[in-house]
């Protein structure tokens, strides 16, 4: 089978209003993001022939993509909703690239939004999210989403000596980047001490080790590499994509400290012909600080077990060798649930277009890796994108 390498490109990208948006429903945010992405790509809505969405928790719709198509009054020939938790974003990109390469569609809109902050009560949001646990053998014990991830953080600390300060440094890095992003939900600087002194949620995770609860949505438009050159902005080519699926429930994970990001990363690197050393910046899924440490290791940016030290070294800062989460990540920019990593992708597109304000624009980046994980470090998708087709 021929490779998807360089066959498709992102030609439109936009975010909806984000943060706390009580006056808009999840569906409305999804549609707003869609229309903004179309505008960015210079397209009319009837020029879309493929639509991929992800369902919302606050306003679930049984056949979500079909309902969004109806709302927009578009009539695609390819229309599907995808759900792999947080890794949904890049799974949809994988599907879209495949659909374009096989001729199922020519121009695909990927759009998703949710309003976890305003569309649900705090209690309801917590119960819905913790329901990712096994209904018979996990949920009755009362685990929360932070608790599931705390099991990973605790195991990593016990096995590799990773410290609370090292976990905290991830949150500090993200906040520093968010301070340079006017649309970020949280912009005030924080220190390692602030993170460690924040309220304990589920040991070893403090409040500031946990991502935000937000409203918002985001959309991108993908087409073939051939067509991509005719769009107003510099295309961002999809050079490699890979998935890894290890488990759904954390009690069934083969390994608590090594994830299926190893497989997703390997597959993406192989397709792209690139290695971790070629990556100019990375956006790593940061629902909780320990996930970033595990991803830094499993994606080959540092040796296994040294993610904590690498995070503290300064290399992941904007001026370091591998800037991460340049928009502020889900820890500080926004996190409306499944669409959370879409913002990492739109940010990546803007970085590669060289179109961001100077303070957080990386100097002439060429290749980026974006990675997301869904469930409890369960499903992983890695995506490598760049400014050159080859």
């Amino acid at each position: 089978m021929s490779s998807l390498r360089g066959k498709t490109a992102i030609v439109g990208a936009a975010d909806s209003e984000i943060g706390v948006v009580p006056n808009m429903t999840a569906t409305e945010l999804c549609v707003q993001a869609s229309m903004r992405a179309l505008k960015d790509a210079g397209l009319q809505k009837n020029q879309i022939d493929g639509l991929i969405t992800c369902n919302s928790m606050a306003q679930p719709i049984m056949y979500h993509a079909e309902a969004i198509a109806e709302y927009l009054q578009i009539f695609p020939r390819y229309c599907i909703s995808v759900g792999t938790g947080g890794s949904t974003t890049f799974t949809t990109v994988h599907h879209a690239a495949s659909a374009i390469a096989t001729g199922m569609a020519d121009v695909i809109l990927i759009t998703m939004a949710d309003s976890l902050r305003s569309g649900l009560t705090r209690e309801r949001a917590m119960l819905i999210q913790s329901a990712s646990g096994h209904p018979e053998y996990e949920q009755p014990y009362g685990p929360t989403v932070p608790a599931y991830y705390a099991l990973i953080g605790q195991a990593h600390a016990a096995k590799y000596g990773t410290t609370p300060e090292q976990f905290a440094s991830i949150a500090v890095t993200c906040r520093r980047n968010a301070g340079l992003n006017p649309s970020a939900q949280m912009q005030d600087p924080i220190s390692v001490e602030d993170v460690i002194n924040s309220r304990m949620i589920a040991d070893p995770l403090h409040l500031l080790d946990c991502s935000l609860v937000s409203d918002g949505g985001s959309a991108i438009i993908i087409t073939s590499a051939d067509r991509a050159k005719d769009f107003p902005h510099r295309p961002v080519y999809i050079l490699g994509v890979g998935e890894g699926h290890g488990h759904e429930h954390i009690s069934q994970a083969k390994d608590l400290t090594t994830s299926s990001a190893v497989e997703s990363g390997k597959r993406a690197y192989e397709m792209s012909g690139l290695t971790a050393k070629d990556i100019d910046f990375a956006q790593l899924y940061d629902c909780f600080t320990p996930t970033v440490i595990v991803e830094l290791e499993d994606l080959g940016f540092c040796p296994k077990g040294e993610g904590g030290a690498f995070a503290m070294s300064g290399e992941i800062a904007l001026e370091g060798s591998l800037p991460i989460n340049t928009h502020g990540g889900m820890l500080s920019h926004c996190h409306p649930g499944n669409p959370g990593s879409m913002f990492a992708l739109t940010e990546t597109v803007f970085q590669l277009r060289n179109s961001l304000p100077r303070a957080r624009q990386i100097v002439n980046p060429e290749v980026a890796l974006v990675h997301a994980t869904g469930g409890i470090m369960s499903s992983h998708t890695s995506l490598i994108v760049g400014v050159e087709e080859d």
Partner: protein
Amino acid sequence: MDKIQPIVTALSQPYWDGCSKGLLRLQYCPECRRHQFYPRILCSSCAHSDLEWVDVTGKGTIASFTIVSRAVSKAYQSPYVIALVDLDEGPRMMSSIVDIADKPVKIGSKVSVAFEQWSEEITMPVFRIL
């Protein structure tokens, strides 16, 4: 507000019946001689479909844990422990560690099963540090 109740199925009934009697039971595959958790209609290793229910020791080791400070709902009294326990027979299960006042929870701590009434119908297996 009630604690979250497991949704018991015909397949898992022997597990919950065991818990009600103070016995931890696992599925056992006579083909590959392996215990399995959670219950399935097949052995997830060799796909053998005729599995047995066997009583196990209820002894295990803490693989990881967290002390939850922010409870999932008002039905749960924080702080409480969520743990992954590696049973001596092999399988790993999520559970809670109880009576931790004078025995600190640690990865690697040996534990033994205990049972707590969750509702009129349901008794949940939890663990105590040995």
